[in-house]
Every structure is written in C-alpha cells, then in structure tokens.
Symmetry: C2
C-alpha cells in the first residue's frame, strides 16, 4: 500500500524555502520561521520549571510534529512526547523518537493493528489513552493479532473528562471498571489517568482558568479515591497545557505535564492574562511574508489562510509596527495602518505571529530555523514537519 503513496510524493516537484547559512533576507515568502534563540530560551524555561517542581515533562508533539524538535526536548529532560494520532506516533517513531504517548482514543482496528505492529517492530516505547471498554478490547486484540504477548508490554492510561466535555469517561467510579478491564488484559498495564482540560487553556482571566482547573482537580481526586478504594494504585496523572500547567504543577496531583505550545508561544496563548507563576515564554514562530499589492488605503501581503491557521483568530503583525492584519482569503492578507504609520511598500517584508501554532505548523512541510534574530540573523537549520498531514 505504501508504494502507492510513496511514489507520487517522491516524484513531486519540490522547492527549498531557504539555504542553510544564508541570511534571513533570502528566505522565500511565505515561510514558517523559527527564532531558534527564542525557542531555546522557551525550552530552558520549561525544563527548569518541570525540574524545579519535580515533575515529568512530556511535551505535546502534535504542536510541532517534528522528530528533531521532539528529540531536542528529550535532550533537555523531557521523558518523551505526546501525540494525538496513531500516524503522528508512527511518523515520529520512524524518524527516531523513542518514547511516544498517544494521549487520545483510537478505536479503529486497522489503526490499532498499525500501532501493535510498531510496538512489536520498533525500538520506540509507546503508550496510549482509552475511554471505553471496547477500546481496551480492540487494543488487546490488535496486540494479539500482531503477536505481541509480553506481559504488560503496553502502558494504557484511562482518560477522564475533567470538564472539557469532549472525550474521556466520567470521573469517579466509572473509571474503576475501565482500569480493571485494562488490568485484566495480560499485554496491557494500567499506567494511570489522562486528565487534560482543553477548554480551560484559553480562558483569558487567570481566575477563570483557576476555577475551571479547581473542578478538574476535584474530578481527578474523586477518581483516584475510587480507584484506591478498589485496591487500584494510580501510578501517574498526566495532562496540562500551556495555559494551565502551573495550576496542575501546584496541585501536587499531576506527575507529568503535556504542555506543547510553550515552545513557540502563539498569539492566542500570549493573549491570556498571565499567571505570575508562568515562565515568560517568547514568540518563537513567525510567518515571513511580503507585500505583493498596494493601493492608497491598504497593503496586501502574500500570506493567507493557507499559510497560517485562523481557528484562533487572525495573526498578529510582529513587524513593521502599527499594522493590523485582516483576512484577504486563502492567499492574501490585507494590512491597514492602525494609526498614522506609513504602509509598507511593494516587496517589503511583513512578519506575522500565528494565532494558533499547531494547525499552522501542519500547513507546512518545513520550518526555517533562524539564529541571530529575524532582522539580521542567518538560517541555521531546516526543520522537517515529519508528521504533517498524519491524520489517521
């Protein structure tokens, strides 16, 4: 089957966005650009935070989808990474990432078989979340079909709904039967609870995030109590995002943090009212664009919805100052001066800060890593988005 897919992708016309060693000015537009200096500072700040709190850090690689960045995070102390999809896990494992947790449900037998074959064949340590008895049953069947029979060879975490109202079994007693179902499968090991409140991450007032997380903390506590009352130990509670991880860390309940966006820090997270306990993360991901049309009232840049995701709003204009970006459709951005600033001229460069980094990265095959700043730096590396488009 792969040949069908590989062949076209290998014969496809490609073009480089940039050359290593060249200046920023030579980067084509629109391109996704990483400020490597800012990214390194974000890396160090989060590593220090996790170490300072005695917590495991397992950043979410669904954000960057890059084996190179996952390995960089692990070199700075992360125990591994999270992903949301089976094929994200396989793409990163094939690219050399050695500890990958699928923090999401997989119910499709064909996907579970792909995962089981990877558990059998690859040196990567995999783990996965479940929220249904059917999910546990199909996972065990897939491992059996792949001939994986080693005792407790796959860690499985029970996802509980801690307030988002999306996936996850109800907190408290319902989680007990699911943990028992996992324990009843020789090839599986009950490894703890997946407890992530996605709905709390972007509530602007810090107090609202704290209130939402208070409910999440209660949900996790009642679930741990129910499991303990049934004689089941909870080895780990894992979760947290960039908007709330300081709350999970302070709770003393979570043992592992899954925050991912801290690495690039998008415009949406930057719009949150800061919690004073949160490290000062910097924007590290930008779209380099340029003006390709001008009239008296506005300038049009060459970056639209196909260059950056807009599910969390339009990108901010990082440089030049005083410009507002409004949608110009899939391939255009309309720029207007907020005050009396002059509009940029034809061909002038405009730097954008994406509203939401995860789906923005997923639009690009490559990210251009710049050292020495966006103004006068040079291209140090080209970072491949290994799991781009891995939806299955």
């Amino acid at each position: 089957m792969n040949a069908m897919h590989d062949a076209p992708s290998q014969t496809r016309w490609h073009r480089a966005h940039a050359c290593i060693g060249h200046g920023v000015t030579a980067i084509d537009t629109p391109s996704l650009v990483i400020d490597l200096d800012a990214m390194d500072r974000n890396l160090a700040r989060m590593a220090a935070f996790a170490a300072g709190h005695g917590l495991r850090l397992r950043p979410h690689a669904k954000m960057h989808k890059s084996a190179e960045l996952a390995q960089l995070q692990m070199a700075r102390g992360a125990v591994g990474v999270c992903v949301q999809k089976t094929d994200e896990a396989l793409a990163l494992a094939h690219a050399g990432v050695r500890d990958i947790y699928i923090s999401n449900e997989v119910i499709d037998p064909s996907k579970l078989l792909r995962l089981a074959q990877a558990v059998r064949d690859l040196p990567t340590r995999f783990s996965i979340a479940v929220d249904s008895a059917l999910g546990v049953q199909r996972l065990a069947q897939a491992l059996h079909a792949a001939g994986v029979s080693a005792s407790g060879c796959l860690d499985v975490l029970v996802e509980i709904d801690v307030g988002q109202g999306r996936c996850g079994i109800a907190s408290g007693v319902p989680a007990v039967a699911l943990a028992q179902a996992i324990a009843a499968q020789p090839a599986l090991r009950f490894a703890g609870l997946q407890a992530y409140h996605g709905g709390a991450q972007h509530r602007r007032p810090a107090a609202e995030r704290a209130a939402a997380m208070a409910e999440a903390i209660h949900a996790v506590q009642t679930t741990c109590e129910a499991l303990n009352a049934a004689g089941i130990d909870v080895p780990l509670v894992t979760g947290a995002g960039t908007g709330t991880f300081v709350i999970e860390a302070a709770s003393g309940i979570w043992g592992e943090l899954q925050a991912g966006s801290y690495l690039f820090m998008d415009a949406d997270y930057a719009a949150n009212e800061a919690d004073p306990r949160t490290p000062a993360f910097e924007h590290a991901l930008f779209v380099k664009s340029q003006v390709m049309s001008r009239c008296d009232g506005h300038a049009v840049c060459d970056a639209g919805h196909k260059s950056h995701a807009i599910d969390s709003g339009m990108p901010g204009v990082w440089f030049p100052d005083g410009l507002a970006y409004t949608s110009g459709g899939d391939e255009h951005g309309v720029l207007r001066a907020a005050g009396n600033q002059p509009l940029p001229g034809l061909g002038e460069v405009v730097w954008l800060v994406p509203g939401h980094c995860d789906p923005t990265v997923n639009l690009h095959d490559l990210m251009v890593g710049v050292r020495g700043g966006l103004a006068a730096g040079h291209v140090e590396r080209i970072v491949r988005v290994d799991a781009r488009g891995c939806l299955g």
Copy 2:
C-alpha cells in the same frame, strides 16, 4: 537548493489511505474522498454551460491543486487552469499541465525568476496578472535574466479592482498606463483584464450578488472604454467564481470563466440562494471520519480542524442524518443529535461536507476517488494534491 527539500520528503514515512479496487469501508479515517460520479456530473454541467455560452473555461486549480484533475478539466474543454501562486504553477507544470495562468500578483524577483526559467524550459504556456508598474518592470527583468527574449512570449493581464477592495489597480483610466507599460516591454503581451470579485461570491441572496456584480460590470466597462480610447484593444476579460459566473456569462463582457469550486461544491457555496441560471452542482468532496469516543450526550469523531478548513464554518454532516457538528479542536469533532435521532456508536462512520474546499484540499496529500457511491462504492483512483503547500 532543491536537494535540501527533496531529501527529507523522500525519506519521510508515508502511509496509504486506501487501496485501488477496495471498498469504501476500507478507506482509513479521516480521509478526503471524492465522489467521482458526482464530480463527473459537475464537470459535464460546467463544460456544457461554458460551451453553450461560447465562453472559455479556465477553472481555478488553487481549489484542487491536482494535475490529474486539471488535465481532466482540460480534456472536457477547459483552455487551461488558473493558480494563485508561482509555486502552484510550477508544481502543476512539472506534473504535466500545459496552460497555466497565475491570476494574482507576483512582486518577488526570486519568484519571477523561477517563473521566467519555467517559461524558458518547460513546454507549458504561462500567463500572469499584474497591478503595478513595478510588477511589470520586475517581470520583464526576470525574463531578461533568464534569457527569454522572444517577442510577446508571455501574456500579461492587468488586474483591476472590481469591488472586492483587495488587489487590482483602480478601474478606468489608471489601467491605461499599466497596459501601455506592458506593451512597452518586447517580451510581454497585454492580454486583457483580470476582473474577479471575490467578495461577491458568498453573498447569500442572489440579488446581492447581482448588485455587487453590477458594479463590477461597470468597472470593467469603464476600463475597456478608457483602454479603447487610448487605442488599446482588450483581447480578453477573465474572472468569475462559482457564486457569480452566470452573471459574468450573461454580461457579454467576460470571455473566460475562472470558477473552480463547482467541481467539488462545498457547503459554503451550497448555502447561497441559488440563481436559477446556475447548473445544479452536487457535493463531490467529503471527509470520511469515524466515532472514536462516546458519552450519553454526544459522539466525538476523529476529524477536526487539521482534516478540514473552518474559515467558512464547520463542516456539514452528510451521513448519518440529523447530526450537528461542532468544533472539538484540531483532531476532534463533537456530534450532537439535532432531534431524537440516535447518536452513532463507537467506530461508526460519519461523512462530512467541508465548509470550504480550497483550504481543505490543501490539508491533504491525497484524495481518494470513489466510484459507485459513498455507501457501497469502490476506490477507483488516488488523486495526488500536487501543489499542496505550494505557498511561494
């Protein structure tokens, strides 16, 4: 430079979404699926409309980004295709498309040099729009730098703003100097006017679209009059989208239609109040997803913002009936019953109709072409999205 980009893409882990000849049930989720029977009917309806009006059809390939579909459209009478980006043009030309018009401005000298080299080296006939004297000058310089000196070897169209307020020079007299600047460059030929009103395409009431197009028609007429008064002939007026092309066709002014979305007919275009003159296009593009989490009140499917674009709203649920899709984020969709319909169970398939086909296709490397219907059909072909991610 290309080697840097090719190498990673060729070593990247890939997986097929489907096997040719297999049933629809074997298509992985989430996958982008084309109902080939519906697409063929849409193709035939638009070909008949253009032929019946004596108009050239140049569908916009920014929608499907596929050389195979571009060639299918040309086999059914299209004179060529449009694209918005230099690298879309180059990707499709390298994949065998022989007549490509860049209906957008390109001001970057490096992009213009890539285009000029393609004009020199490839058998494809290229053409391009401009809206500035600098654009004309840089285009001529790029052709000269590439050693392209044949007289009138590149057709250039002047884009005028017909009401959208995005790109395009002001209508009327200002277009005259630009046409003269083109004519003054030996390698360039003034080929007519680019007149597209993107802002009119999705106004729901047909009367509002007609009112917006009345202004556009006036803008084109005054521009043609100004050009004729200056002794300049206007060989062609090209433009129109799926929301208004019947109006351009009825005007007697446009000679070429650029509509693209008619081929797949997304949910956003289907929401327009129909103009009785418009052929009855059918939905031909779907996202196959499946339920991967369930609770009492809702089901969660495995298709989120990374599977379909949401710039024109959430996808519609095509099957099963009576379900409403709300955002569950990048990887999830939350499904609720509109009435008393039962919710689909774990693993059940859910078919979605994307809100906007262009940026949805751009999220996928492949489209799975199904013959015989979504319920019991089989996979006839895998359609490659050759220009996916070609932003430059």
